[in-house]
């Protein structure tokens, strides 16, 4: 209000008076001084988490709109409205209010579609952000707790999504709930009671939609909001990680100041994310419940898929052979449901949540890490992450096996069998191949550091020998490729001490050593200054140094091609001056 004064000095005076008023009452000066020029490192991949944050803000904004018109009730009603094919059809108030807010509320359909698209993007950006954090090792000390917070946010996101798309009470989501009921009933001993707990009696009952509504608009978003707050506070406290590069170490942070660059980009990105979601919502229909119809326990549509983030569960259920159900005494244990719906996701999620702790145990490293790893420099971690993703990906595809069958005219049974095999084979293959690619890329880095860039210029010596001129890396290029440490497997103390007494904890140490070997046995060490000097001094012999310094299981393979000479670009007119042997 006060800033609308016409004279600029007036505006400045008003601003300073406001600032003074606030500071005298809150001491906000400290915070402003601390945050205004705080440095944030910059990289496109740091935006992935931002996308999650902004799609969540979009979810809240559009969600508030939707709550104004949605009626969370399973009370029966008959539809009267502009959608002709459903006129007079008996349905719940939840479904009919969804139709009303889609067709009769101005901008309602847009808001509904924004909400659903934002949910898909929210989950996708969480997953991709988590992949970035995983593959760059950003979860290492001191950020393990924040990894766990992020993991819980992922689970809460699943809960938010599932409770949300079930609310319209249409036939598609209703069958999803029926599957949930079947899965819950499969839990030994308490399954039937848990089903009653959720549905307030028999499925579908009359309580579910109001209960899901409370879960969806209060419980879960409240928890998400609180944990996002914690996630961000921890991020600010730790200061953001940075990619390796010149001048970046574990003791500093290099980047742009919060004001103006970082704040501008943060703000700008919010509008970009919201804008892209609006574009999707304006042009692409999502979850057209009026085509599915209201929930009825009898019909079901073929090719029915849940939202993408639930597909892996659906896929696991589809792949499991039925024979695993057994009876013990009078009681039935449906392992054909328990394994895919509880054990498989349990394993995937437990590995994901605990990974930072497992890796820290195998590494035996107690230092803080603020410089990120290049994924190639941690072959085990990268390969492990890719194989976990591969398992997830196979399950997602298996959740769409009917669509694959109808689109490609294949037998559903063959597809299912293929995925059953792939679920076990593909992650291993992915692991081995990824690890080889990582090691290969590291060797490529060594090669580059030792021999420089190829220039494509061929020079002939007086002796008649042809060589290609290589341009050495500059200091910044080289630093990126040699800054990391190759972690070596842990060495443990012997089983007996000097007096021949068997020491305690030896077995645990042995296990730890094995794990450590699994992680770090295969490795390629970065080039050392001595190696570079040797390579430059030795001309012909240099290519062999590319293979130096790898672990015991790394077999040396001779470098392809003949001798390569390193030629200083300033010296390239006189190649004879180089120390070359024939």
């Amino acid at each position: 209000m006060t800033t609308t004064t016409s004279s600029p000095t007036g505006a400045a005076r008003a601003a300073s008076a406001t600032a003074d008023y606030l500071d005298q009452r809150t001491g906000i000066g400290h915070a402003v001084k601390y945050f205004a020029r705080k440095v944030f490192p910059d990289h496109w991949s740091f935006m992935l988490g931002e996308i999650a944050l902004y799609s969540f803000v979009t979810l809240i904004l559009s969600g508030i709109f939707l709550t104004m018109f949605f009626v969370p009730s399973m009370g029966e009603t008959h539809y009267e409205g502009p959608w002709p094919s459903l006129n007079g059809v008996e349905m719940s108030e939840a479904f009919s209010s969804t139709l009303r807010l889609s067709f009769e509320v101005r901008g309602g359909l847009l808001m509904r579609q924004i909400h659903h698209w934002a949910a898909l993007i929210f989950m996708a950006s969480i997953v991709v952000h988590m992949m970035r954090v995983f593959f760059t090792g950003a979860f290492r000390k001191p950020r393990e707790i924040n990894w766990v917070v992020g993991f819980v946010l992922l689970i809460l996101g699943l809960a938010a999504g599932f409770s949300g798309y079930s609310l319209p009470d249409d036939v598609l989501s209703g069958n999803g709930l029926r599957i949930t009921d079947g899965v819950v009933k499969a839990i030994p001993i308490i399954g039937s009671y848990t089903s009653y707990f959720i549905f307030g009696g028999e499925f579908p009952g009359h309580d579910l939609i109001p209960r899901l509504f409370t879960v969806h608009i209060l419980l879960v978003p409240g928890l998400i909001l609180a944990l996002i707050g914690l996630h961000l506070v921890l991020m600010v406290m730790h200061k953001h990680t940075q990619y390796p590069g010149s001048g970046r170490s574990d003791k500093n942070v290099v980047g742009y100041p919060a004001l103006p660059v970082y704040v501008a980009r943060l703000g700008g990105n919010f509008f970009l994310v919201f804008g892209i979601i609006a574009l999707l919502a304006g042009t692409m229909s999502i979850n057209p419940v009026w085509n599915y119809g209201p929930y009825d326990p009898s019909p079901v549509s073929a090719g029915a898929q849940p939202d993408w983030y639930m597909l892996f569960l659906e896929g696991a259920l589809r792949l499991m052979p039925g024979g695993a159900e057994f009876v013990i005494g009078q009681y039935t244990v449906p392992l054909n449901v328990i394994i895919p719906a509880m054990v498989v996701p349990g394993i995937l999620f437990t590995l994901l949540a605990l990974y930072p702790f497992i890796e820290a145990f195998a590494t035996g490293d107690d230092r803080e890490h603020h410089v990120l790893d290049r994924p190639r420099n941690r072959p085990f971690r990268t390969a492990f992450g890719v194989s976990l993703l591969m398992a997830f990906f196979i399950l997602v595809l298996a959740g769409s096996n009917d669509l694959i069958a109808t689109h490609f005219h294949l037998s559903i049974n063959d597809i299912t069998w293929t995925f059953r095999v792939l679920l076990f084979v593909a992650p291993w293959l992915a692991f081995v191949i990824t690890k080889r690619i990582c090691l290969g890329l590291q060797r490529k880095d060594r090669e580059l550091v030792l021999h420089g860039h190829e220039t494509g210029r061929i020079v002939r010596f007086a002796s008649g020998e042809y060589i290609e001129v290589h341009k050495p890396l500059d200091a910044h290029e080289r630093w990126l490729r040699v800054q990391h440490e190759a972690i070596r497997p842990l060495e443990i103390e012997p089983a007996e001490d000097s007096r021949g007494v068997r020491r305690k904890g030896y077995r645990r140490d042995t296990m730890r050593r094995r794990l450590s070997e699994l992680f770090y046995e295969d490795r390629v060490e970065p080039v050392t200054p001595a190696e570079l000097a040797a390579a430059q001094a030795h001309g012909h012999g240099a290519h062999e140094a590319v293979e130096a310094g790898h672990g015991p299981r790394e077999l040396a393979s001779s470098a392809p091609g003949g001798g390569q000479h390193l030629v200083d670009p300033h010296d390239e007119t006189a190649p004879e001056g180089r120390n070359h042997t024939v």
Partner: protein
């Protein structure tokens, strides 16, 4: 060979070379066009202003469309309203977003700054102070001297949540009578009726190879029809009696007409797809496949048990009626289904 060679080289030169390379120090990015030339800076400024203008125009279009293009009565008008509002909103948001990001990238300083990090761990003095503070607090409370208070206090705190949890758990599952899973509303003499019309079915209505989705005729009189329907839906198939290899319960069918529960024994989806030639029933959710000609046995997929069979006969007027309830619980497996 080559290994020895190179390690030898490394060893020889170890004296002159450090173990690791040195960090060359922060590499400031190259100046941008807009840093070098005011003309480019002016151009960027105009671009930013144009993007903001797109946003302003977007808002005007949005407000216009809100009033001028109501969703109306037809799918076309609804679609038009949604597209125009959506695209206008896209312009509003992307205009602002792109403008700010472009501004930041071209016109704001791109100098990188370096800030020190400090270890997360608090220093020893602070830690000692914290421990002292806790000890002082504990000492002031006298908790270590008065053990009875500790026990009583902890017990009270541990018991208190019961007052919230008990009523919640107690009420939330209705009557907790889970044996309801085991029964459906089919009784002796209940007529089989078409879903959803409720018209009763005569045996003579069904030709060989036909299939009907069936509900109990008196479904709408039930206290909670949806709950009952979720258990009672049935698929009625008429086959050539010669094709019928076996029934789930011998003698439950009538003249080649068999009635099986429509609720999948896997996790409860309706088993709705019937393939006339193979007599297979397919659940579209997880592809469990049941052979109607052979006692609805599972031939593929994640289900284990055959579909339960409803005993049927024909009443005096020729209508198909149930001879009683299913003899086993329908739908997905639960712990106490055989008790």
């Amino acid at each position: 060979m080559s290994h020895d060679n190179t390690t030898d080289v490394a060893r020889r030169s170890a004296g002159e070379h450090p173990e690791r390379f040195d960090d060359p120090g922060v590499h400031q990015p190259n100046p941008r066009l807009s840093d070098l030339d005011e003309k480019h800076a002016k151009k960027a400024e105009r671009q930013v202003a144009a993007l903001f203008t797109i946003s302003i125009v977007g808002t005007i279009v949005f407000v216009w469309a809100y009033f001028a293009l109501p969703p109306g009565e037809t799918p076309e008008s609804m679609r038009l309203s949604n597209i125009v509002l959506g695209l206008a909103l896209t312009c509003i948001l992307l205009g602002i977003g792109l403008a700010i990001v472009h501004w930041a990238k071209t016109l704001m300083s791109n100098k990188e700054y370096v800030e020190e990090r400090h270890p997360q761990r608090s220093d020893d003095e602070t830690r000692a102070g914290a421990i002292q503070a806790l000890q002082d607090g504990a000492a002031d409370s006298g908790i270590s001297r008065r053990g009875a208070l500790k026990g009583a206090g902890l017990t009270a705190l541990a018991l208190f949540p019961l007052s919230i949890v008990l009523p919640l758990i107690g009420n939330v599952g209705e009557d907790w009578n889970v044996s309801k899973f085991k029964h459906t509303m089919w009784r002796k003499g209940t007529r089989l009726a078409y879903d959803p019309t409720g018209r009763p079915i005569k045996a003579s209505d069904l030709t060989i190879g036909s299939i009907a989705h069936v509900i109990p005729e008196d479904l709408h009189e039930a206290e909670s029809p949806l709950d009952e329907k979720a258990k009672a839906v049935v698929l009625l198939v008429r086959m050539d009696p010669r094709d019928l290899k076996s029934e789930r319960e011998p003698g439950f069918g009538f003249d080649g007409i068999v009635a099986y529960s429509k609720i999948c024994t896997h996790v409860g989806c309706p088993v709705a797809l019937y393939e006339q030639q193979t007599h297979h029933l397919l659940c579209p959710c997880h592809q469990s496949t049941f052979d109607v000609a052979d006692g609805a046995k599972v031939v593929f997929g994640p289900a284990k048990r055959p579909l339960p069979q409803l005993p049927i006969e024909v009443d005096a007027e020729g209508y198909l009626v149930a001879r009683g309830d299913f003899v086993e619980p329908v739908g997905p497996t639960f712990w106490e289904r055989l008790t």
